[in-house]
Amino acid sequence: MPRIRGKAKKVQMMTLEEAVKKYMHDGIQCAFSGFTGFNRNPMAFAWETARQGIKDIHVIDRHGSNCTWLLNAIGAIKIYETDWMGWGEMAGKLDINLERTYKAGKMILEDYSHGAMAMRFLAGAIGAPFIPYYAPLGSDLYNPDYDALGRAGLRDGKNPRIAKKKFIQIEDPFFGDGDVVMLPAARPELAIIHVAQVGDKGTAKWRGVGTIDKEISFACDKVVITAEEVVPEAEMRKNPEANQIPFFTVDAIVEVPWGAFPSGVPFYYDYDAPFMREMDKASRNEADLKKWLDEWVFGPKNWEDFVIKLGAKRLLDLRADSVTGYSTRMMRGKNPAPRMKMPLSVARSGF
């Protein structure tokens, strides 16, 4: 939503513990960066959130990730407004924790689609209250009976972050191009964005896909950037076309190397599919899950201690190479990755 500001934000650098303490609270509506469990999940932040016992979180996002997997594992998510409740694609598709909590009636799930959530965040980012989208007519996503927040009585206008309607279907009034669905903007309180580099004034960048992280940064009231490295702001200005997040959106910066593990940060490190498979396995049984949480979440003294526990071998395998941006040493399947110079499709198409 448009938020008229009197003056520019002044970014603060802080520790992970301080950032969670200052910006997270029970009942917060927030969004995480990255893409599913594989790319730039702000996992260290979610991990510290779990450790500080924040609860009743309203996550509004385009899909699950390591962050939501963990928060669901401890039952910290109360409302989940998204479009894909999985988290690990090929390493553990369905979030078993979420399924368990949902079936027990302890959580509200609101379904949208991927494109619809992207458009909602785009609307939020540009300060528009809603956006038209050719969201699929005839889909139960837009069946008036399937409005979970409405059914729970939460669309009464009392919470300014919950739209009074899930959608409105209208006929295109300008060109007459059929029926179109108007979707409410997404405007959460807090964005948590994990990036490769951030300048000490707040300008941030990543390499690889952008997903909707720029839109999220503008759609939310407050933005916490967790980064692999904090560099002098002047360094970020040498190649400004590579930056995505302008400094004036950012409230806090946290330097947290390996802070996206077990997801990857292109050109820094790869995702850890075997670790994610272990998470998925642990979630299938409550005793195993408790053991996993005690060992990996509540056991380590801090995030650095967690990374040390991962061990040098794992970190060596995951380190990305500087040409492709991913690791070819990591064992993802049953055989090691072959050494390649050129994609076969390029060799065959001849460019």
Binding site: F35, D83, M117, P136, G138, D177, M342, L344, V346
Partner: protein, 299 residues
């Protein structure tokens, strides 16, 4: 000593384009290649994670080297060397034309009408190609809760044509889904409780003629007639029309069946095994080549 990937590349044209015999390939290979055959050289393809991605990668290395592959996290025309495990995998971004985000892929590419072929999975499908990836049983207290739409409903309704890959069982091939995530050629009207053609529901929009073109299962390949109703086109080797009918809950039209699904050729299997998934992430194991092919590869 094992051959380098470049040496293996040089061999491709020597591997015969002759269908492999039963027992020389496994079902995921047959399905992956069947998907690849759907891709045309001038397609812009938008595919989901898993077998759809494997199939379109194979197409890009075989019959459709110029096809453009879009991945929803923001990747335009990725040229992969190593099979991605996610649509946001940096492996899928290799040598891409541009990288953006979801607003690019769903807005600029898909809603703008550039995408000619969608390739998606599904948990259940109806007779008109409508897909459920959301839930089974009562929506609010389901017996099974799946991941939900993701990009399925966007891509499946706005790509010019869409192919689905689904595990075939009687309970997954339905007259009507308990929850329709992605409507097919007919949409269920919530008010009147009856089917209406997509062309009517989407009348006036640019997408009224976009919809499902094929369904690939572990048993067969299906297409849609001019009324938008699914019919059996081919059954996989070792499957019969009777078995297909046993695993379908609606009254399936089998009168237009052409015969067996083409078996993958040795060349297609070579590309699938050596270039698409040599790491064995999707394929459960590497199947041995018959002696004459092995001799060509080792020779």
């Amino acid at each position: 000593m094992a051959k380098t990937m470049e040496e293996l590349m040089e061999l491709i044209d020597n591997i015969p384009e002759e269908p492999a015999k039963p027992g020389e390939f496994i079902l995921p290979e047959l399905m992956g290649i069947a998907i690849a055959h759907e891709v045309l050289n001038d397609d812009i393809v938008f595919a989901g994670t898993g077998l759809p991605m494997v199939g379109i990668m194979a197409a890009n290395m075989l019959n459709a080297p110029n096809a453009t592959l879009i991945y929803e996290s923001g990747i335009c025309d990725g040229k992969t060397m190593h099979v991605p495990m996610s649509v946001s995998d940096q492996r899928a971004a290799n040598m891409s034309s541009s990288l953006g985000g979801l607003v690019d892929t769903f807005g600029y590419f898909l809603q703008q009408g550039f995408v000619t072929l969608g390739f998606l999975g599904g948990a259940a499908i109806d007779q008109y190609g409508g897909v459920n990836v959301t839930s089974i049983g009562d929506y609010y207290s389901p017996t099974h809760r799946f991941t939900g739409s993701g990009g399925n409903s966007d891509i499946g309704t706005m790509a010019k044509r869409t192919a689905f890959i689904i595990l075939q069982e009687k309970r997954r091939f339905l007259e009507r889904n308990e929850y329709t995530t992605t409507p097919g050629w007919w949409c269920w009207d919530f008010k009147t409780k009856e089917w209406k053609p997509k062309k009517e529901v989407w009348k006036g929009t640019p997408f009224a003629d976009c919809g499902p073109c094929a369904v690939v299962t572990n048993m067969a390949v299906y297409r849609f007639d001019e009324k938008g109703i699914m019919y059996l086109e081919t059954y996989h080797p070792g499957v019969t029309v009777e078995k297909v009918l046993e695993n379908c809950s609606f009254d399936l039209n089998v009168s237009m069946v052409k015969g067996e699904t083409p078996r993958p050729t040795y060349r297609e299997l070579f590309v699938m095994r050596e270039f698409v998934d040599p790491e064995l992430i999707f394929l459960p194991a590497k199947t041995e080549y018959p002696p004459q092919i092995k001799a060509l590869i080792d020779g």
